[in-house]
Symmetry: C2
Subunit: 361 residues, 2 copies
């Protein structure tokens, strides 16, 4: 790939342009908002000049609702040899393109699984996609050359290509991204009108479950509006478990021994299926979550405390795999949980203990 | 308080005994399982010898299902001036005690909001309760002397006393602890039978939402069985939001413009109420979550990388408030998000940048 057009210079488009430009591809930047394209060009993402003739690849990075029409226009104008989009849903844009009567051979739908809280070209970075899955949805109609251009883009962005059917992709993101967002919001919503005293009892569990409930409602409305069916299908199954659990809990309230027994079984089943599902969530390096051992250390709130712990761990030759910091309510002290390979835990405990850190067994 | 009996030498009982013994209280240890009491005594939590006469305070730390009968026995035997339990629910044990015909004046129900994944006396530590809320549920019948003994215990354990009505406590933990546990399990359960390709697309959002789904089902069955009504009440309200959201999503699938508009409004409402609830979750030091600024740094997977970052942050005089490490799927590199006071963020970015760290803006 020598030349590309990026249409839509928001976070994703500009980040892809930066990655391509940084690896020697000549990138032409287009945006309905000229100042956005100008910003991207100033960041080194490419040029605002129009290309002399067709480029190798056109990357369409506009909101889902405009993806099909922008793609259709670009294909009709013949601006490139191959065309892809990066919208967060894949079934709808493809069907809209078909309805517009455009030949789909030079097109492939894609979705990089990367983003951040901020949007726009100023939030873009060349390494946004590094190590992230980038879904490609070729069909039997897709030109092999176009698939290879897309794979080259993914490689230049240092992402990990994952080939999926467009509708399977939409069901997958409904499951692993869109449903958790809505459920997190629903749990957090219960706190909106709670007593202040109840809220004071919040611990790390609800803190984790509700973290993404802080997300931008407008951005999520765009995403959910483009994938309502698959999300509703997953929520229907969550609702079935929820109804069953409420019924089981009401059984536990009852004096009837049979109902109590059935209740216990129903709830334990949900908890056990939860265990089974959680084990599948990829941890570090995309693998199943490693069974790390936790070394817990109590620290004060002075600057440099964490630095000193990490330095001591480094001196002991131990690689910290993950960290969790739990601040105690109403106190200046905090508990640091250092997650390490099980074989490294005794050495780390000993090393930190010798240096006077209060280890919590 | 000079003398105490701790009945039940599991994690919580032994931790309280260690805190009391460490501050000069003579603690007598009792457990149905003699080896458990022996272990606690060996750890320095007190003595297995019986007291000469009534002690100041009896701490009952047995499973919820046995709490009332053990309390009733101790009160009838007159082993102490005051009695408290530490069970994770408070309404049931009190009503059971009343039904057993025991005078409740010398009793106060309490619940320390602390725990860990491991149980038993070997997991106990004197600082388990440091800075954690410890709920006290006095009634007009409670002797003032008994309330003061309980407050003294909480102070000796360095916990933060929170006075609540017993039933209000049970509704609060249903909201902030028991419901998030079940909902997390239900989201994780959906992954149990998902396609491997779908599971590969999991990101940090679902990872956080499902973290506590790894919890022990048997322990949770004990907790939920003791509080079924309040948990079912909260889940009923979550179910109402869930049903409304499914209906709204089905509306978005429809061609009818009115249905689409209603659907958008309904979903956006849930997301906005989620925002409002999330803001109330206490962060560091029990206050509302501080608006930290994130400084993101890309690191390799070598030992010492984190140590070096933290050391450099310490040298710049910046206190890291929280850390999140996001490992890229299929890659050795990871993204470290350093959370700092907004005023400290520019200094930290500059300091780390000058030392060659790849900062992601």
């Amino acid at each position: 790939m020598r030349t590309a057009v990026v249409i839509g210079t928001g976070l994703v488009g500009t980040s892809a342009a930066l990655a391509l430009a940084g690896r020697g591809v000549r990138v032409h930047l287009v945006d309905r908002d000229r100042s956005s394209a100008g910003t991207a060009a100033a960041l080194g993402a490419g040029t605002e000049e129009a290309p002399d003739g067709p480029v190798d690849l056109a990357v369409v990075a506009v909101p889902p609702a405009h993806t099909a029409s922008v793609l259709a226009g670009a294909i009709r104008d013949g601006v490139a040899r191959g065309y892809l989009d990066v919208a967060s849903v894949k079934g709808g844009p493809r069907r809209e393109l078909e309805a517009l009567g455009v030949g789909l051979a030079p097109y492939i739908g894609t979705h990089p699984m990367a983003g951040k809280e901020r949007s726009g070209p100023l939030a873009a970075t060349a390494d946004l996609f590094e190590g992230r899955p980038w879904v490609l949805t070729p069909t039997p109609d897709t030109d092999t050359e176009v698939l290879n251009l897309a794979l080259e883009l993914v490689a230049l962005c240092r992402a990990v290509p994952v080939v999926m059917d467009a509708d399977a992709h939409d069901r997958a993101v409904a499951l692993v991204s869109h449903t958790p967002q809505l459920i997190s919001s629903m749990v957090a919503a219960r706190l909106a009108e709670a007593d202040e005293t109840a809220v004071r009892l919040c611990g790390q569990g609800i803190r984790d479950v509700t973290r993404i409930a802080a997300s931008d409602p407008r951005m999520w409305m765009e995403i959910l509006s483009a994938n309502p069916g698959p999300v509703a299908d997953v929520l229907d199954r969550v609702a079935a478990d929820l109804d069953e659990t409420v019924r089981a809990l009401r059984g536990l309230e009852s004096a009837d021994e049979d109902k109590r027994r059935t209740g216990t079984g129903g709830i334990e089943d949900v908890l056990r299926r939860g265990n089974a599902g959680r084990v599948r969530v990829p941890g570090k390096h995309g693998a199943a979550p490693a069974a790390y051992e936790v070394v817990a250390v109590l620290i004060s709130d002075r600057p440099g405390e964490l630095a000193a712990i990490f330095a001591d761990a480094g001196r002991a030759g131990v690689n910290i795999e993950d960290v969790r910091i739990e601040h105690a309510a109403g106190q200046q002290a905090g508990l640091v949980q250092l997650m390490v390979e099980p074989s490294a835990a005794p050495a780390l405990s000993t090393a930190l203990g010798e240096r006077g850190w209060p280890i919590r067994p």
